[in-house]
């Protein structure tokens, strides 16, 4: 366990030293909440029950997660490319532990991004939070999902350039069909069908529930359960792929 924490700490240290990672993971969502919230402030009537800032936060905080995932995928690609992965593979820790250590670093990064943007939006724009407890649980389930997705994407990249191209294109595509980029209510029917097949839709719904919708066990079960399950599946496939590709 000590070795896994060592690995996590080192990865976090590297992510914190990377200015681009910091900007896309922490600064981008904050700027977007302020920008989108203020641009659409007049279009949200009080009868809707939420402000433009409530809405902006529930969508824009995912851009921080997407940025964090892309940064983590790139950091694994750098590790593969620089040969440090060989040192990790030769060290007395298993391949599973290597991936777990890296996943924990990504998870801490993503949780930090979510919390910072939530604190910012709450303090400055007084956004609604129906249940702090459920918000915490949903942030955890979202983190499990995006961390699993990160390890999965990192299985297919060998260079930093490939990491950037693959992670941003896949994540933007997923964002497109999930309600992050366009509200589901304005989507054509075929797009709504696509959205239902997209696992990212569940974390987006979960955020809306934690922030301003009615929370019951039934309403929260799928939006929390599906991302956790998908994250674990992605991670398991990644462990298998990591072991398999290291023999190539």
């Amino acid at each position: 366990m000590k070795e896994i924490i060592t690995l996590t700490r080192k990865d976090l240290q590297l992510l914190m030293l990377d200015k681009t990672s910091l900007i896309v993971t922490f600064a981008l969502p904050i700027v977007l909440i302020a920008l989108i919230g203020s641009v659409f402030s007049s279009t949200f009537s009080p009868s809707l029950g939420i402000t433009s800032y409530d809405y902006a936060f529930s969508k824009v905080m995912f851009w921080g997660l997407i940025g964090g995932v892309a940064s983590s995928v790139a950091s694994i690609a750098i590790e593969k490319n620089s040969g440090t992965i060989i040192r990790l593979q030769v060290s007395p820790i298993s391949k599973f532990d290597v991936l777990l250590g890296k996943s924990l670093a990504c998870a801490v990064f993503l949780i930090a991004s979510s919390i910072i943007s939530w604190v910012f939006a709450s303090v400055l724009f007084d956004i609604k939070t129906k249940s702090i407890l459920f918000l915490i649980l949903i942030l955890i389930s979202n983190t499990v999902f995006f961390t699993g997705l990160m390890t999965f994407l990192s299985s297919f990249v060998k260079t930093e350039r490939a990491a950037g191209a693959l992670s941003w294109s896949v994540l933007q595509l997923l964002a497109c069909f999930s309600g992050i980029m366009f509200p589901i209510t304005i989507m054509p029917a075929w797009m709504v069908t696509m959205t239902k097949l997209n696992p990212v839709m569940w974390p987006v719904q979960a955020m809306e529930i934690a922030l301003w919708k009615e929370i019951t066990f039934d309403t929260i079960l799928l939006p929390m359960g599906v991302p956790i399950l998908a994250g674990i599946i992605f991670f398991s496939i990644s462990v298998y792929l990591f072991q398999w590709t290291s023999q190539k």
């Binding site: 000590k2 070795e3 060592t6 690995l7 080192k10 240290q13 590297l14 030293l17 990377d18 620089s82 040969g83 440090t84 060989i86 040192r87 990790l88 593979q89 030769v90 060290s91 007395p92 820790i93 298993s94 290291s246 023999q247 190539k248």
Partner: protein, 280 residues
């Protein structure tokens, strides 16, 4: 210490390592030589447990290299500089030391020792990205020494290194050998292998084509000494097994004005064994 028996590894239909067998004894400095694509790195990757042979076996102290207890014995210096460029040299060594379970005073002592061996103590707090190529190579070696490995594997450690750093690396390896460390070295530079290694294995197209002590390989395959002698009659080139005798004989016949002798060496032995120069 290390035993390879008919180890074979294929990538697709191509056997990159083909039926390779050799043994490395404890405390030995063994050189694995061969041109690019000979299968040296794949052999090394199998020895460190990164790749599994499709047939044959590889044992370290009688055990599989994939075992955690065996991994603790290994120190690897990969061909690429395997370091975190945005961290300092000290931060890199702390991380790699902690991966092997080193902590506190013991970790600090090992880091101190590793920096001393590679002569980088003064620059320990600088970011690796600020280091020269030679310094990075030396730190690459230091990172493999922290846990006091009994088997150190160096894959082309002196590629792109200036002569000063190269000598410093040689000194480090001699020092480690004195401390009882078993060392495997792959290299393009036959001269350095000749200077450093007790025994060498020569690989070509995935096969081990020769394996013996440096002296034996030179005497068996290095050819004859070539004397270029200038006397009043002109310049003559002579190939001989007994150069000293030949020089005395020629000097008795006529006064030698100038003399150049090319002794048999590992490079010639390599050329005779594989039919190609190492950089081919």
């Amino acid at each position: 210490m290390i035993n390879l028996e008919n180890a074979t590894k294929r990538f697709g239909s191509k056997a990159v390592v083909d039926n390779v067998s050799f043994e490395i004894r404890k405390g030995e400095l063994f050189g694995l030589l061969g041109p690019n694509g000979a299968g040296k790195t794949t052999t090394i990757n199998m020895i460190i447990g990164g790749l599994t042979p499709e047939s044959g076996s590889i044992k370290i102290n009688g055990e599989s290299p994939a075992k955690q207890s065996i991994k603790r014995l290994l120190g690897i210096v990969p061909q690429t500089v395997a370091l975190y460029e945005s961290l300092s040299a000290q931060q890199n060594l702390i991380f790699f030391g902690q991966l092997y379970g080193l902590t506190g005073k013991h970790l600090n002592e090992r880091i101190e020792h590793a920096f001393e061996i590679v002569n980088l103590t003064e620059r320990r707090n600088e970011r690796v990205s600020k280091y020269s190529g030679g310094m990075k190579r030396r730190l690459n070696i230091a990172a493999a020494l922290l846990h006091n490995p009994s088997l150190l594997i160096l894959d082309e450690p002196t590629v792109g290194v200036d002569p000063q750093s190269r000598n410093s690396i040689f000194e480090s390896l001699r020092e480690l050998k004195k401390e009882g460390c078993t060392i495997i070295l792959t290299s393009h530079y036959l001269e350095e292998a000749q200077k450093l290694c007790d025994r060498v294995g020569i690989m070509d197209e995935g096969k081990l084509v020769a394996e013996n002590t440096v002296e034996k390989l030179i005497s068996d395959f290095g050819g004859k000494s070539i004397l270029t002698v200038e006397t009043s009659k002109g310049k003559t080139k002579i190939e001989t097994d007994q150069p000293v005798k030949e020089i005395i004989r020629m000097n008795e016949e006529d006064t030698i004005l100038s003399l150049h002798m090319e002794s048999p060496n590992l490079e010639k032995a390599f050329l005779n064994i594989t039919g190609k120069h190492l950089r081919d």
